[in-house]
Amino acid sequence: MLTLDDFIRKAQGKLKIYKDFRLQGDKNITEELTICIPDMHLLERGPNDDFLDGRPEYEKRFLGLLDFLLNLRQEEGEGLEIIQLGDMFDLWQAKGNTNLIVEAYPNIIGLIDKIKTIYVLGNHDIDLVRWYKDKGETFGRRWRYYSKAGGKLRAIYEHGFQADFANNQESWTGAIGREISKIVGMMEYIHPDIDVILGSTWDSIVRAFSKYNTFTPVRDPQGFNPHEYLRFYIDLLERYNRGETLDQFSPDEVNLSLAVIGHTHTARLVRMPKNGQVYYLMDCGSWVNGGHEIGVISGKEMAVFQWE
């Protein structure tokens, strides 16, 4: 298995650790070099296409990453695992479902399939499992994915909308969030960056409430929250470890310490000790509006990189 330093060397200067997001766990988390590609939101190259964002160099940069991963797959074979963390397509705004997105980006769709990517569902491409719900056709998409090390589950990979009150696709709040996103998507025809402006405004409001703990000053006395979904994911990992899930894993098979997500479009890597165990949350960022991050895990090591 390649180490993170081997991986950086092979990229020949194209990879940079994002901020200081590199950590080492106490035990192995994966047995393969695991590369996580977060939200892409591919559309049909129109003004609302946040992947292209009107800049052909963004597509070229992503193709550069896929070319590198194709070479790596040929060299490393099964020693490499590549996971797309959902929202690969933005079906909330697509004119012709995935069909016309494939027409717009044949190289990206072809290459990402060729490198044997494991696909996890996001809220923007969840329709892929709804079209043929009765027949059970999922187009190879999974709700979540797991890594094993030493015979036990050690990491869980999912999109992250499950922790988001306004985007959980199984609740009424998520349905409202979807409609609001569609309206904002339509507004992008008037101003292409309206989603970014409104998103930043919303984030600053949430951050202010979070920082001063307006609603939960007793429960969160520190007044500091390194990731808005940290509590959700530590709770999820602990429930798995206790065997309290519907996924039929007994506690003997599970020792989860890492959750890997996308969804927020803001990369972070957070470490949090709790009840005698250390938990990690890796948010891999995005490839929209100029984002160019990937999450990488190798053995005990984990980091968020930017691909140049």
């Binding site: 044949p106 072809g110 290459l111």
Partner: protein
């Protein structure tokens, strides 16, 4: 303020209606039309039996051969079957969409 709220409700309502329109499958589309699949070398009779008389019969293109003709149907449905094909471009693996079949259809 009331007008803004009303406008917001209308926009939500319209976008919800568009959500209710389910995307169609190929099977659903084909259930509304009669189709014949084009294969190179197939006889013209098969086409004319399935599609009926052509709407326009253009005069032949200039040249000695009067047997080379075109026939035009208006308002028909054409279905292209498309797949991805791997190609090499400047030493890199790239992909192109290619047409692997054509269905010509008329409404039932």
């Amino acid at each position: 303020m009331r007008r803004v709220v009303i406008l917001f409700v209308i926009i939500i309502g319209i976008s919800s209606c568009t959500t209710l329109q389910q995307p169609k499958t190929l099977g659903q589309i084909k259930s509304e039309v009669d189709c014949i699949q084009y294969k190179e070398g197939m006889s013209w009779n098969q086409i004319s039996q399935a599609m009926g008389h052509p709407d326009i019969a253009p005069i032949p293109e200039p040249g000695p051969d009067l047997s080379k003709n075109t026939r035009v149907y208006k308002n028909k449905v054409v279905i292209f079957n498309i797949e991805m094909k791997e190609v090499k471009e400047e030493g890199k693996v790239r992909f192109r969409e290619v047409v692997t079949g054509i269905d010509v259809c008329k409404k039932k």
